[in-house]
Symmetry: C2
Subunit: 519 residues, 2 copies
């Protein structure tokens, strides 16, 4: 209803369903891999794990980016893989990679399929290698080392449940928005971030060791607690988006699961700048960090207030009187985990910092409520598309010095388009800056949906880059952002990426065309 | 005197000076670089910054490893550089690197010269490129971003003093043992660690961005607060030990300088295992981390007690009665910086954890005293060598699960050698393990000093590797450990290192033979 009001959607629009897509999936491209090779794969992984039905191919043809969903609605499946293989072991992955390397067959490592950067298409056909069916187990928990060795195909919820119930209880602490539909391998390949990243770190700070199968051979790093053995190979595979090899195992940090100790807080600030200042001061104070640290900008705050039925209540009137006005007021959510006293200590410190910056403490409940429904927003996308509404997200990261101008310019660019709702939050915070996560809703240009979207998207990324934002904070690059990589990196830097690619994947079979358009 | 007693050194030994070395430095190798090329360098950097005196060449011929010091005493200068150049700018570095690349002249980037891994020799002659004379300035402090951009040739004390006195005062928080004689560039090239690393992190956790001049061109990364733009190039240059290019600038994190807030604590544990357990429990408790966290093993504790005249005092008798016995008791030092309340909070938490593990709180003074003299131990090396005593250090890192057996095996190996003092401490601590830093003193084998040392060293490294320690935690690999890299990494992994090297330094001019023996 909030969206309906904001975007002038008439009741007529709500009656129909725009671009429902075909019920029957048709794939025009025939399987290109010769039968004798398919037989080889069947011998390795078993007939039941080598699939080329339309359903399997279509399910692995796309991730979950807006244009991919749109293409599905337009019944376009342009670049499906030829086969989907579900290997049972690292040895099988090695055999499959070797055959593909010899036969020049492309491989697209497929995790939970929740990529939003067009990273999973198969323009050269080939194999979508899906580790989720078999290679989805915890191999070892070391309580003394506070670490876990896990296969890359394990889904987030299974992994977390396993850890929560192991011995006295552990957590990985990595909860990306895609948690339900993402895998350990995908987290690493995309260099992802979870809701609690501000204290636990992004995935690159959780990885202790990796095992990767590349066409040139296998790489296995060790789980030393920091070392100085030349440069760190882990960081070449974290963020490699399938172009270098298949991540098959990872050793990650774990922490004691102490959910009952958590402290929750929510604040309302008079304006966005005050909230950002408060957040920055907390990160730079030297008194420790919260796990969840999040600001919704004024428009996102207003939408949240309306959706929760807060608008017009007694509390709302009170807050307005106190100077917390719609259009300017800004919500902050905080959660601290770990030791009980620590959680309390940090909460009090953050309260003091917030108070100095007009932060009005509104209890812990709003944060708890937000946490309970945090995965639900992604589910709104399809119903909104049914109404003919573009609903997309983009994210970037910037130093504090560049953050506010970047926020303003991004909003200005999107607001230039009529009837566009733009909601921004900061949700992963560092001493030197934070990410900006943009959700925008805008009417589709009917009949020209795809090109119109691409133009809108291009302008937004150009705006980000011009205002010193990174191309991504945790979604990755994929095919969607690869043209900008070529602008952002010089010849030597791009050459270095390509040299690493060439060494590990000399025939260019790993996710061809992804990320840098690496050959 | 403690050492004298422990090692059976007679008064006669103390009278003479063993292997004093020659007063006059003689370098046999003549300068190989043709005069017309030298003239070019002089045009670029000025005559006064292009040096080939014996003194300059000898001063840049070695780092500070034990065998290097020994070679100097034996008047062996085997592999000096031909020239020492002090460039004035990045542009000059680019010009020099380009000429060397064309003319096939080796370049050894030289920081403070405090390497202890034989990383600075010039087996192919060439240029020792020393940035400390001119490229030693802070370029920009950003208070809002909590970061500093600095030239790589700046020495630790100058850098820290600059930050301490800038505006309201900042600190970098990186204090390696070599602090006085090391540079920002050296810290990064060696992947170093400082005394306060447990909270502030090793140098790899402080680097936000880098500028590197390689023969293939320049690389300049951006200071985004985390991103997901493909894989992270910073981590290829952190730990690159001069083999890829010349690190010319870095953007590092800084923190508020709040020295007066610091909390100090020292504890005595009944045995080593209890101290290690206490340390591990603190790191895994989720209540925050101390900045300095250090355990001296029983032998190091005993030496410290004797040197401080603590042995035989009333307190000593009291502690012995309480079960804290020489040969078993173990010292722990703790410092927490940052916010005052935070420091107090963490100190109390650590006290509680220590108490559970037999940790007896002995006040803050021992830690303060230790801090005051922390850089002095390195100065004991030369006087000990005067007495004919090998004095060397080696360091490694291991997960908690491997730490105690590794400690025992290393000690057993060294103790196998008569009259050998072995002192070990843990000084850089992580959730999943810690480093082990070994100092050992042993009589030289007179007349066969070098080979005897190499044999001893080889056996120790073999013991470390066999017991699952890393080759280094923060000294780096250099030439001293490069043979073990080839054992520890498989062909694909070594090939990947070499491919990166080949891309950036196709003619193999950067620190040839260092680290992996990379061509």
């Amino acid at each position: 209803m909030v969206i309906k009001e904001k975007m002038n959607i008439s009741d007529i629009d709500l009656a129909g369903k725009y671009l429902p897509g075909n019920d029957e999936i048709s794939i025009e491209k025939e399987v290109q891999i010769p039968e004798n090779i398919i037989n080889k794969f069947e011998e390795i992984s078993g007939k039941e794990n080598v699939c080329h039905t339309n359903d399997e191919r279509a399910n692995h043809a796309y991730g979950k980016s807006y244009p991919e969903l749109l293409k599905l609605r337009l019944s376009k499946i342009e670049n499906p893989p030829d086969l989907v293989i579900y290997p049972k072991s690292t040895d099988e992955v090695v055999e499959i990679v070797n055959i593909c390397n010899t036969e020049n067959i492309a491989i697209i490592p497929f995790g939970g399929g929740s990529s939003v950067t067009d990273a999973l298409e198969a323009p050269k056909g080939g194999i979508s290698l899906n580790l989720t069916r078999h290679m989805n187990k915890v191999l070892k928990v070391s309580e003394i080392n506070s670490s876990v060795k896990v296969q890359a195909g394990m889904y987030g919820p299974d992994f977390e449940k396993y850890l929560n119930t192991f011995s006295s209880g552990y957590t990985c602490g990595h909860f990306p928005q895609s948690f339900e539909f993402s895998t350990v391998g995908g987290w690493i390949a995309a260099r992802g971030a979870g809701t609690f990243s501000t204290a636990y770190g992004k995935i690159e700070e959780m990885v202790l060791a990796l095992k990767v199968v590349s066409p040139a051979g296998s790489i296995e790093t060790k789980d030393y607690p920091a070392d100085a053995e030349a440069w760190d190979l882990n960081h070449i595979f974290i963020g490699s988006e399938g172009v270098l090899g298949v991540i098959v195992e990872a050793t990650l940090k774990i922490r004691k699961y102490q959910a009952n100790n958590a402290a929750y807080a929510a604040f309302l600030f008079k304006d966005f700048e005050s909230a950002v200042n408060s957040m920055r001061q907390t990160m730079q104070a030297g008194y420790g960090k919260p796990h969840l640290f999040r600001i919704s900008d004024p428009e996102e705050t207003d939408v949240a207030f309306k959706m929760k039925g807060f608008d017009g209540t007694f509390s709302d009137s009170f807050l307005k009187l106190k100077g917390y006005k719609p259009g300017k007021r800004t919500l902050m959510f905080v959660v601290i985990e770990g030791d009980k006293d620590y959680a309390k200590f940090i909460k009090n410190k953050i309260k003091k910092t917030a108070k100095k910056n007009s932060g009005f403490f509104i209890g812990g409940k709003p944060t708890k409520k937000w946490l309970e429904q945090r995965y639900s927003s992604a589910y709104a996308r399809d119903p909104l598309m049914d109404l003919g509404i573009i609903t997309d997200t983009l994210e970037t990261t910037a130093t504090w010095e560049n953050l506010l101008p970047l926020w303003e310019e991004m909003r200005a660019y999107l607001k230039n388009r009529p009837l566009t709702t733009v909601m921004v939050h900061l949700s992963h915070v560092y001493e030197n800056g934070a990410n900006l996560y943009i959700t925008f809703l805008s009417p589709m240009k009917r009949g020209d949906e795809l090109d119109d979207y691409y133009q809108l998207h291009k302008g937004l990324v150009d705006t980000i880059v011009k205002n010193k934002g990174s191309l991504s904070h945790h979604h990755g690059i994929g095919r969607a952002l690869s043209p900008w990589m070529k602008q952002q990196y010089n010849e030597t830097e791009l050459g270095l990426y390509q040299a690493i690619k060439n060494k590990l994947d000399p025939n260019g079979i790993m996710n061809p065309g992804n990320m840098l358009g690496l050959g």
